[in-house]
Subunit: 341 residues, 4 copies
């Protein structure tokens, strides 16, 4: 039985494990003040070409979104996001728990547009009753999106411009950032990401780490007393080294991008294979998540041998399945998959 | 330079690392539904003699306190705790962030009493204006306490009884549970803990794990939709296996208690050594945290060689230092320490 | 200058003022425990034919929605509402402030349907990832809606049925309840409202009172320690008599319905007059809020003489204006209005 | 049966009622933007000698504390207050509901000192672990206190100075402000209050109004988008005129201070009478709340004729009763009371 259900099926990339083992007995100070975390931040700043970036390590994506968004928004503000965005759908109300509304925009294949953001903000301020409404205070988008799709550099430039015009920060959820950046269709670099947004996170959990995400405040703009805010949210790890060491390894010798590239290679092989076998793409995704239309019968037949995520119902006899590859997917697994479907 | 600053200075016990490496490529389902976590829960249930206990794995102590307390309290309730308790002092307002007041009791050496709890509750209900006040809805205590002290079995029995009489749950913070249970002065077993409280957690971070705490609902009383509550709090780890595997190892072959015992042996050696050298105990602690009165001058002299936690000012020329041992402390380190002080 | 901008332009119905003056020196106990409030509740129970209804008086609509919704929802639940509903748009995020998400449904002329509610809930529970989502925990609708439209008895029966099937409470916002119930097109009585929902409120602020809304828990289902929850929300009036006396008067001698009827008569006169003068209805509303398409030029010409609410932009040269009548609108005002437009 | 149970037993001062009746049919804009509220603010600014003061009207004391404190504190901050302060005890956790901790100081007769405030803040910043603690972000005190006691001008000057030194705002709860200012022992004027604090409120509910408190931001320092914050808290009254008109009347022709003085005259008469009859003062209060030690037997004998508040148990056979006078207390009532006790 093999699984392509998601991109967090295995532990960690072996190089990361090795580094954890090697450093295990070195005594380090707590709560993210350790040298590993400092060095990892330095490595990331180099890769970003952003010497002033302020970097913190948190444990997971929902936690990161919750801590970052609630630390930046003012009490009267909400966050603009795609109605299909992770914070809108699959975080169990984590943002609302912090007292903030999500201002939803209709997404197309997971994406929102500069025009829609601008329209929402303009309409808000024109409304004579807007002091009785939630102020738009931030824009959230995922790169790549929850549907595996990508924003082009031009699209990001325009969204960034709208945010600047209206003086609200742009936050990019990079849970799968590496998988987006390295794929062929992408014309965006990690330096572009850093340049165009005010804060983003580099996903580790789904790209080779046991756990952990690196939050980057790109403009010397970390919220005041951010350590306290993280602690208050229950998100400050005593052994901060655990995430620091992992990101230190990920951002040494290009590992983060190499293993991202591997996942994309595997995904393209899957895509090509499925298309050749006559499957229809539900969404034409260039990244590590591939969405195919499959008959319910076929899904059932395959169940004992291979696992996908059931994404949604397509019609009465078909469903959309998601096949996810990751840093950990092997050629053998892909070949076995293709032989089975 | 060696450090006794706290009990989370190193990575993880080597057996845990080994298990993480061995299981690394096994595909596992996410969010705590994996087999490792299931097996770890089963092991813990056996050790507790509590076949109905419901067990969940979270990442850290503050997070655990926040998730558990906010999931159990009703909106109009607060939690009774020592004014020196971790939730009262060093969690940056994590409990208040969830909308709940902490009802403080004056602690003696970190401990609260059944009488004081009973008095608070009785006084509350007798007060004609109590509907304008926060209802006492839960009791929180730490075993061992933040001052390294212990409740006796009789003390815990009486506190448990008061909670039962008033029908409010008792929650025990076991960040250093092992260190409390194995020390000579303790007449409490982990089965007693499970029997006497409604929920507690078994600390992993400070006892051999990279991260992670095991929450135990002892009376088949896990809050409804607890997964969703964990997720909403940003506390649901995608790779739940990370904590599951660690607890599986900790609760296999008695490892948790063995390494706890080792830390206590080291602590007693430290204590004896310090006393022999004429240091005064600030608190007579039987556990892995030892508190000594030391001259500021001596502290400064030692600074380049050994690190303690500065606990509090004692008088103008002295301070209280905390020496913490852990699963990771070696005989050599203790001898070096004693030769230095 | 006369204004039809909204339905809270004047103070209170004169009978209410008189009752306030008459009772002014009678000493009464505080926080809603006074006899006036008790009598008012009794009068309302009689009118509802609901001897077990539990009734509380609060100060305003947003406060009422916030207190009621946050007192009923469990921590993991959200409230289903029209995307045009008051809580979704014009309460500045008051519901999210309490930690709860609003689960929006696309409204048609302000209304939602039993089918849409049922679909949302069914889809939620079918979703394999629903434990990572906000649970639907309540349905909110406004009668009449924010667009002045009405649900038919059959529509309410079906919505009520869906709520019962899924075992979630139905909450009706009756800020303008009287205006809905007395109009000719309505086939719903206040007894139907009480029978079909679990909790609703009878708006006072917009129907003759200085302030105040009466919350009715129809099924002996007031939340436990509701007084404390109200207090905690800053919503417990020391002189609860202020609202109690007003509702006592409103529900004595049918005053509430009489003055509601008067407002509807005035609204129908306005509607007829506008139609005769060639104005187009933006929405065909049977209640006290009338929506007309008017040229921007006309609006500007009228500005020194009469005030409307600018509802929204219609096209480049026209806007939608809202004309609201109330218990306080006089025949003279309506005639003057019609002579002006 | 007469009552001295509290100072909110009657409706409103007759002049206020008259003004409400006279202005009843004047159409006014909503949500506090009406001319009455503007004029009332202007009158208050004159009385304060504070032309830049920003003034808002809210409904009650708990609501005011909740809105003001949560609007000013940053997310990582708490509010320093007496452990006997209203927010610490009788607001059902309203401050914690907004996510903020109250940092309690031991009060003496309801009062806190500049020294204690300074010590708390100094200790906080000296603590090496303070980033894991709640930051002191504001000082709250009540003038007069919940025990009817007063701060001297010198005490307030020193507290104000400490707040300035540490750059945190001082907030004064003036639920009974008038009763404090006009009593003989007071050497504080309302101009002093305005000068020494950053924000305070002038209590209306207990001093002649049906409801309402006037919040004064003394240093041009109203929180940004405060209207939205008020609305979000469910505290924005549609007919803002209701409170505006009342404060307009209270601050015309010195009414606020005259009726405050009347209450104090009545309180002193009560005090003198009780002392003459041999009752012991529990606290020597100069304001409208008087606290006497009375035998339980006497309390029971009096119960059918006169009501007090049972403040607390004194000993097994005695209790502390609170006798409150107000703007509404008559000479006849006081004489009757004295003849009874």
């Amino acid at each position: 039985m093999i699984s392509f259900e998601n991109d967090y099926l295995e532990g960690a990339h072996e190089k990361i494990l090795t580094r954890l083992v090697e450093t295990n007995r070195i005594q380090a100070s707590g709560y993210g003040s350790d040298e590993f975390s400092q060095k990892a931040a330095e490595k990331i700043r180099e890769v970003l070409g952003c010497p002033k970036a302020m970097i913190r390590f948190l444990m997971g994506g929902t936690q990161t979104n919750q801590v970052v968004i609630s630390s930046i928004l003012k009490r009267f503000e909400g966050v603009i996001a795609a109605d299909t965005g992770h914070i809108s759908t699959h975080e169990a109300g984590a943002i609302e728990l912090t007292g903030h509304k999500i201002l939803p925009l209709s997404a197309i294949a997971g994406k929102i547009t500069a025009e829609a953001i601008d329209h929402l903000i303009e309409t808000f301020y024109k409304d004579a009753t807007h002091t009785h409404m939630v102020f738009p205070g931030m824009v959230y988008l995922s790169y790549p999106t929850e549907y595996g799709t990508l924003y082009s550099l031009e699209e990001l430039e325009r969204i960034s411009q709208v945010c600047r015009t209206h003086e609200i920060p742009l936050y990019i959820d990079g849970a799968r950032l590496g998988y987006g950046l390295v794929c062929e269709e992408s014309d965006v670099t990690i330096k572009d990401i850093a340049r165009l947004c005010d804060v983003f996170y580099i996903g580790g959990t789904k790209i080779g780490a046991l756990c952990g995400e690196a939050v980057v405040f790109t403009k010397n703009n970390e919220p005041v007393h951010f350590t306290t805010l993280i602690k208050q949210n229950g998100a400050l790890l005593a052994k901060g080294r655990l995430v620091g060491i992992q990101f230190l390894e990920l951002f040494s010798n290009n590992l983060y991008f190499e293993i991202s590239k591997h996942a994309i290679d595997m995904a393209m092989k899957v895509k090509k294979g499925f298309i050749e076998k006559g499957y229809h793409l539900f969404i034409d995704s260039p990244t590590n998540q591939q969405f195919f239309v499959m008959s319910n019968e076929k899904v059932n037949t395959l169940k004992p041998f291979v696992q996908f995520a059931n994404w949604e119902t397509y019609d009465e006899t078909h469903q959309v399945v998601r096949v996810a590859t990751s840093w950990g997917t092997t050629e053998e697994q892909v070949e076995l998959l293709l032989s089975l479907v």
